[in-house]
């Protein structure tokens, strides 16, 4: 078995081809593997944790493949990128199916509330799922630089979203980006070796490819 540079965790929930193709595009010399083998996730240099569908199903399928320990370990120790449900699963609890998450971060996953779904300006109805290109605003602590994964990406650049739930971290210091729909919601978190986003960088044209490129070249300090 050749060494895996970037493992894309496959727990049987949907199409990971887009993610792996985009990673291959930004890291031509690297061995990108879509894998459901915990040993391969454990031995990979960096890990991408995507997700589609409903969170309770994702957690169930992750456990059915014995991947939980390898994913938790990677999230704590190596360059790790969560995408969409791969962000949501890192939290304690989701309103979707009233399900427990992996609990790596304190906080909940909430649904866009129907009462809020009106455009502030025109009063038009806003649709759920939140589907399409929205502006992403980068968050950094006063006096510090934006996170390395935002390098080369304009503040307010548009990324492609499709989701009905969003994360609410208890510890606001992990928030690395937000969007408005219509209220502000967290769309990116960062802690040590981990970065996770609600939008789909693999479907976000140049801005997304830049973020993935930043990820594959990222050398975070060990926690």
């Amino acid at each position: 078995m050749s060494k895996i540079d970037i493992a894309v965790v496959d727990y049987g929930m949907g199409n990971l081809r887009s993610v792996s193709k985009a990673l291959e595009h930004v890291a031509p010399g690297k061995n990108v593997a879509v894998t459901s083998n915990p040993d391969e996730v454990a031995s990979a240099e960096r890990v991408v944790f995507p997700g589609q569908g409903a969170m309770p199903d994702c957690i169930r399928e992750l456990d059915a493949r014995g991947l939980r320990a390898a994913v938790m370990d990677a999230a704590k120790h190596k360059p790790f990128l969560g995408i969409c449900i791969g962000l949501q699963m890192l939290f304690e609890h989701s309103e979707e199916g009233n399900a427990a998450g992996l609990g790596l971060f304190k906080g909940n996953v909430k649904r866009f509330a129907a009462v809020d779904m009106f455009d502030n300006q025109g009063g038009d109805k806003l649709k759920v799922p939140h589907m399409g290109w929205n502006q992403v605003y980068q968050v950094c602590a006063t006096g510090s630089q934006p996170h390395v994964l935002w390098q080369g990406i304009e503040d307010g650049a548009r990324f492609y979203y499709v989701h009905s739930y969003y994360v609410q971290p208890e510890n606001e210091s992990i928030i690395s980006g937000y969007s408005n729909y219509p209220k502000r919601f967290t769309c990116a978190i960062a802690k040590d070796n981990l970065f996770a986003v609600q939008f789909h960088p693999e479907k976000s044209a140049n801005a997304g490819l830049q973020l993935l490129s930043n990820f594959v070249n990222w050398s975070p300090k060990s926690p």
């Binding site: 081809r17 649709k127 399409g132 290109w133 929205n134 502006q135 548009r158």
Partner: protein
């Protein structure tokens, strides 16, 4: 600023080529799908839709190769429809690199396919395409048609839209069969009626002839996304020009 309205060029594909017809007839060759997809991506298209209108089942596999090829070079969402008959077809298209699969005639013949596909792959990747026509012989205004607009179903398009969303459709592609290929603009009352009735985004389709039609589709039709084919294929307008025009008219777009 918030969510942008999307512009979606549509590529009708048959036997591996992009074509465009008027009212689903008189097909003209418009070029190589991969080249066209890349051109639209460069122009700033927000998404691409491929409709496989291949008549014979022999050549249906061709669309999978096209999607594989496009998906490895173009990094925006891809929707594929046409000829989806069972959940297995949805799986094949998603595996080839489609992000969403659009279900049309099969949704009418066997609604359970919509339900099963949404349950298995998630609502986010299930689009139901509704072809509707204005009718005089029914207690409602717009009727659902299938088989490329040839068969009436007796279904009220607005009620049908609500039902499809209840089964798990994550988005609706609404095509006015009266308008398709005519270049006289979207059927905005139809789109508005459906958009108001459901929680999910709707894509307006059928009838775009100029850039004002796109603006009207959003402002009057309540569309979350607008789909067009011929105005882009024959180089009348670029996607970028369309977006600039929409922005000038107060619509939020990704520029």
């Amino acid at each position: 600023m918030g969510l942008a309205k999307r512009i979606i060029p549509c590529l009708d594909v048959t036997n591996g080529r992009v074509v465009k017809g008027v009212n689903f007839l008189e097909l003209r060759d418009a070029g190589d799908p991969v080249e066209i997809a890349k051109r639209y991506d460069d122009q700033g298209a927000d998404e691409l839709t491929f409709l496989d209108i291949t008549a014979s089942s022999d050549n249906r596999g061709l669309i999978l190769h096209i999607i594989e090829e496009v998906a490895s070079q173009v990094f925006i969402p891809l929707t594929v429809g046409g000829g989806v008959r069972e959940v297995e077809d949805v799986r094949r298209l998603l595996n080839a690199g489609a992000d969403k699969v659009s279900i049309n005639t099969t949704a009418v013949l066997n609604p359970k396919v919509v339900q099963d596909a949404a349950a298995r792959f998630g609502s986010q990747c299930i689009v139901v395409a509704i072809d509707a026509k204005k009718v005089d012989n029914q207690p409602f205004e717009w009727e659902v048609f299938t088989h490329g607009g040839r068969k009436a179903t007796g279904l009220d398009a607005v009620k049908w839209a609500e039902y499809m969303v209840s089964l798990g459709a994550g988005e609706l592609l609404v095509t006015s069969m009266d308008r398709d290929g005519t270049k006289i603009g979207f059927n905005n009352p139809l789109n508005k009626a459906i958009s108001d009735a459901v929680e999910v985004p709707i894509i307006a389709s059928g009838g775009v002839g100029n850039l004002q039609h796109l603006v009207d589709g959003v402002k009057e039709g309540g569309a979350d996304a607008v789909l067009a084919a011929s105005i882009f294929h024959y180089g009348e307008y670029t996607v970028k020009q369309a977006k600039e025009y929409m922005a000038q008219h107060g619509i939020e777009v990704r520029l």
